[in-house]
């Protein structure tokens, strides 16, 4: 065992000990519970902890409730945040079952640490869109408007995925943006549009969809050059691997894909 996984192993040992389970050495803590249920897929129990990119908030909460509905003994917990914050938490030993990232690079942080139990799978895609308040007070029509000094504009910080994607599309469009704020995550950028405090923000199509009538979305051709692929995987240290597999299956199923599409995402192209 490598030294860096030692604290995690200790956490797991303590968890197992507290649960009073006589697990075989190395068996995941949740395995014993799941194995006692003969009905297979249904009847999952315990707590499932899903770490997911902030942009997945609405659709994953919906899918989580569906899984809970099918498995009365199961409680699904979410930790929604920027993918990079989540990747840091996971590599620091946060007890997560599933990681759904808003881009490949943060998933790589987790796979480089050897924490994925199977190869991550791309389950959906998201493209950038310009979000404006309903009456479009700044008369924004495209990316070029982000260079207008008189507008209040929000773009994600380059350190977070939506900011990295924004840098790409601005580079392709040859626009030097003049944002008033570099937001710490995409939801914070969206909130400022919803409050009418900025004239435009660069967010994902899914964020525009989730805001309903509170914002208008404006598509732009350069968005196709910075498509964000969302990978998901079950983690090796998952306290509840059975439920984790079930959740990933649900996300990849027709039902899950439909929910994602309704939320403004689109099916993976590959």
């Amino acid at each position: 065992m490598r030294l860096r996984t030692l604290p995690l192993a200790l956490v797991l040992l303590v968890t197992a000990a507290c649960g009073g389970e006589a697990d075989a050495p190395g068996a995941p803590a949740g395995a014993a519970e799941a194995a006692t249920d003969p009905s297979g897929g249904a009847g999952l129990t315990g707590t499932l902890t899903v770490f997911a990119a902030a942009s997945l908030t609405d659709v994953f909460e919906d899918l989580g409730e569906r899984l809970e509905g099918e498995n009365p003994g199961l409680a699904v917990q979410f930790n929604f945040a920027g993918s990079s914050a989540l990747a840091t938490q996971i590599t620091q030993g946060a007890p997560a079952d599933v990681f759904a990232s808003a881009n490949q690079s943060q998933m790589t942080v987790v796979t480089d640490a050897g924490l994925e139990s199977a190869d991550p799978e791309v389950f959906t895609e998201n493209v950038l869109e310009i979000a404006v308040p309903p009456d479009n007070p700044g008369e924004v029509t495209g990316l070029a408007d982000f260079a207008r000094e008189e507008l209040a504009l929000a773009v994600c910080a380059p350190a977070v995925p939506c900011g990295a994607a924004a840098e790409d599309v601005f580079g392709i469009a040859g626009v030097t943006p003049l944002p008033d704020t570099l937001e710490e995550d995409v939801r914070a950028a969206l909130t400022k549009v919803e409050l009418g405090e900025v004239d435009a923000a660069l967010v994902y199509a899914s964020d525009v969809a989730s805001a309903g009538d509170a914002v208008e979305g404006i598509g732009f051709p350069e968005a196709e050059e910075a498509v964000n692929e969302y990978p998901v995987c079950v983690l090796t240290e998952a306290p509840n691997p059975e439920a984790a597999e079930a959740f990933v299956e649900l996300v990849l199923s027709d039902e899950g894909q439909q929910a994602l599409e309704d939320a403004g995402f689109r099916a993976p192209s590959a």
Partner: protein, 282 residues
């Protein structure tokens, strides 16, 4: 309240050292645990600090800028809090305003409100579409969000209650007979406040200002919501630390240490210069 002469001060310090061994166990054990609880996370930061690259991290563009902005905004927020908070504390402690209990509860709202919610609340009042903000925008063309002014306002909103509560406590503990005597000698209420009450509670005001400054310096949630995050105008150290944490955890640790070192140095310096003689306040 008056400063004891140097001799008695030294004697008192010596006496304190002797009685140190006599701390009763029921107090000593939790106290030691308390110190460990507060200091161990700091130790964790120190252990993880990439000392070899500290110089490089500190020289990174934006660090000095964020630090200067943090110190400036926290200081302005403290001054604004003193200007508004000391009179407010006096009203809470001395006046017979009706609904004083309700008023006191309202003052503590920013303490319990999650700072991010505080930031949204500030938008709703001072934002472009806010109650007062929309009028400011239409009448004067002034917009507050995403400016350094917004940082100072957000920090003041979150930090001022610490000052108000400290000063109110000091006012309640102060002997009101001095004020009564001043009144019998013909001093008006304003003169009494200025010449008697304020000097009497000065240590409390100092301690409150220090708490307020420290809270303002570390403010994150209300600031990033209401003022946004832009290097040079609104990106304070806590915001820089948070964003560095996204992809350069080591830089985040170094930045945290800088913030910590600067704030500790300032507090220690202040303690010696101004607050030391009051002895018990810090």
């Amino acid at each position: 309240m008056t400063a004891p002469p140097p001799d008695s001060r030294r004697a008192r310090a010596g006496g304190r050292r002797r009685t140190g061994a006599g701390v009763p166990a029921p107090l000593l054990v939790p106290a030691v645990l308390g110190v460990a609880f507060l200091v161990l996370p700091l130790l964790g930061l120190l252990v993880r600090t990439p000392w070899s690259s500290v110089g490089e991290q500190l020289a990174a563009p934006g660090v000095g800028q964020a630090l200067r902005l943090s110190l400036l905004c926290a200081t302005l927020a403290t001054l604004l809090s003193l200007f508004l908070g000391v009179p407010l504390a006096w009203v809470l402690a001395r006046s017979s305003v009706r609904w004083r209990g309700v008023l006191r509860a309202l003052v503590t709202v920013p303490l319990v409100l999650p700072p991010v919610v505080g930031g949204v609340a500030l938008f709703l009042v001072l934002g472009r579409k806010g109650l007062i903000g929309s009028w400011l925008d239409e009448a004067f063309g002034i917009t507050i969000p995403f400016t350094t002014t917004a940082v100072v306002i957000a920090e003041t909103f979150v930090a001022m209650p610490f000052l108000v509560i400290s000063v109110e406590g000091a006012l309640r503990a102060a002997d009101t007979r001095f004020e009564d005597v001043a009144a019998t000698l013909g001093a008006g209420r304003w003169t009494t406040f200025r010449r008697v009450t304020l000097p009497l509670v000065a240590p409390g005001v100092g301690a409150g200002a220090v708490l307020c400054w420290a809270r303002a310096l570390g403010e994150f949630g209300a600031t990033i919501t209401f003022a946004g995050n832009y290097p040079g105008t609104t990106q304070t150290m806590p915001l820089a630390v948070y964003l560095a944490l996204q992809n350069e955890p080591e830089a985040a640790i170094v930045l945290s240490l800088v913030l910590l070192a600067v704030s500790l140095a300032t507090l220690l310096l202040l303690r010696d210069r101004w607050l030391g003689r009051s002895g018990t306040t810090l």
